[in-house]
Amino acid sequence: METVELLLSGFATALTIQNFFAAAFGAFLGILVGAMPGIGSLAGVALLLPLTFKFNPTTGIIMLSALYYSNMYGGSYSSILLNIPGDTPAVMTGLDGHPLASQGRPGVALFTSNISSFIGGTIGILILTIIGPGLARFGLHFGPVEMTALMAVAMTSLGWLLGDNPIRGMVATLIGILMATMGFDAVTGLPRFDFGSIYLLSGIPFIPLVVGIFGFSQVIEMMEKRNTARGFDIDKLTLKDSLLTKAETLRILPPALRSGFLGTLIGVLPGAGATTGSFLSYLMEKRLGKDGHKLGTGRVEGVAAAEAGNNAAAAGAFAPLLSLGIPGSGTGAVLLGGLLMYGLNPGPRLFQTQPEFTWGIIASLYVANIITLLVAIMIVPFLIKILKVPVKMMIPIITTICIMGSYSANNSLYGIIIMLIAGIFGFFMKKFGYPIAPLLLAYVLAPTMEKNFRQALQISDGSMMIFLQKPIAAVLVGFLLLTVLSPVIRWVIGSIKNQPN
């Protein structure tokens, strides 16, 4: 019960007026930066980190956590409203969020996103509070062998997102993987497929790619309907019409809770991250949810699953960070740097040597999560007004954001060029009915899979048997075979049954 006491005293220190305003300010800035396509959460947190150093440690850490959370909230806003994901996990949010907004219900999408983010984040922090160190140890069991199997499951699950025309979906997926093979080979450290250009040495930069393929492609498409009114009554864009109905609230709870647990577990795994968290949560909803097959048409469940999974994964990533001192991602590394600055030394001894400080941080996470939610909800009425701006006025504005954002990603003109090319390519993809989300997810997941696969074979000295010798991997491989083989078996059985006697 000592932990509870420490946690409570952590709350006592955390809950002051000054901390409240610092967190609210941090949340506001985080949302703004997160919503700007082009500045990912890594750059966002890194750029805002120095700001927090002006305060005492508790205030600073609360502000930092608020920044970290709100960045993800912001990322999904631009995805919902403009269909330009502010960060990768938001790609999944946009799958249902943007259709909802296009149907004249942007407020509902935003509220769902906020509340499920909060639920996911809270579940993540709760699990972290109760079994944080144990969870981190669990994550260590996922070495190259297990991660290969998990990534293989994730990659084949992409099939569920392919839409009506699986061939087109597969072309999109494979293009995404191919793009990801450009740049430095993670195993040899040498560049490949750079075609002699120094710009391509590290491959295709991700942010300009996302901004172009989602954002700029949309500008080109908008030219068709720039003079037609939006498909809904813009006068209905009020706060009242944005609130969730009781039925909707009940609909988002199960997916948000489920995804919160799954997301936390995924967040703990090395190199999996928030994108995998939101992606697998969304897929789980598609498979297990009551109306799973309707996902993708503007369902609140889709937004809820993706957002809860994303934020839970972000909280889960704190487990290895705090109890082992190992950052799971680039953003984690920045946070670790921030915590070190405040005199906290994350590692195995953290909970023993600095219990008050540590529980203070965990209390800060709770406080930051709540304040971020408050700020996020207050911001909704202003955000939905964005959709009142006529389409033809949006064209130059979004173009400008795309250009600025893709430049800022690496401070280079090359980013803009990639953005423009990706935009034109994305436009043709949309026109010809190729789905874009699988391309981006494949781009994100493929390098992890390839690297782990090759490392696994290095460990086993070239023997494939290693994937069956390790229990976790064997289970995953079994699952993989089942999901891949089951359609084949069904097809065989079906064709036998249909055979005339």
């Binding site: 191919l178 490949r192 700029f216 498409e221 068709e224 006025m393 090759r454």
Partner: protein
């Protein structure tokens, strides 16, 4: 826009890319040595799959009706390229002002006030976030450097 009438262009292009990946992957980066997949192993497999799936796609796309393309689809692309070129010449923010204002005033025929206000808000937001706050070092433009 007649040349784009057919849907087979995209999969034909991806088939070609797949082929390039197979050839370059196998010849330049290697397949499998001493029980270890080499740099070219994974890309070559994916390239091969892409080639195969793209050929399937080309065949199935033949039967589909082509989507419509408009000449206006080109405008935002040209405008964006124009803005970037102008940015290199006179700097990012002047180019941004010219582009947003010009587009709204002369292409969309908004009145001076609306176009000006929208331009002002957009510029202020971009300038505030990217330049003042995040301190992104935008190039100042060749002309400015010369002055």
């Amino acid at each position: 826009m007649k040349r784009l009438k057919t849907r087979t262009i995209l999969p034909a292009l991806t088939a070609l890319i797949g082929l390039v990946w197979v050839i370059v992957g196998l010849t330049k980066y290697g397949w499998w040595v001493e029980g270890r997949p080499q740099s070219g192993f994974f890309p070559a497999i994916i390239g091969g799959l892409l080639l195969f799936v793209s050929i399937l796609a080309v065949m199935s796309e033949m039967k589909e009706n082509p989507p419509q393309f408009l000449i206006t689809h080109l405008y935002p692309i040209l405008a964006a390229v124009g803005m970037v070129l102008a940015a290199l010449l006179i700097g990012f923010f002047p180019a941004l002002i010219l582009y947003v204002f010009g587009w709204l005033k002369w292409y969309e025929k908004y009145n001076l006030f609306t176009a000006g206000l929208t331009t002002g808000i957009t510029t202020a937001l971009m300038y505030g976030v990217f330049y003042v706050w995040l301190r992104v070092p935008f190039p100042t433009g060749i002309l400015v450097e010369l002055l």
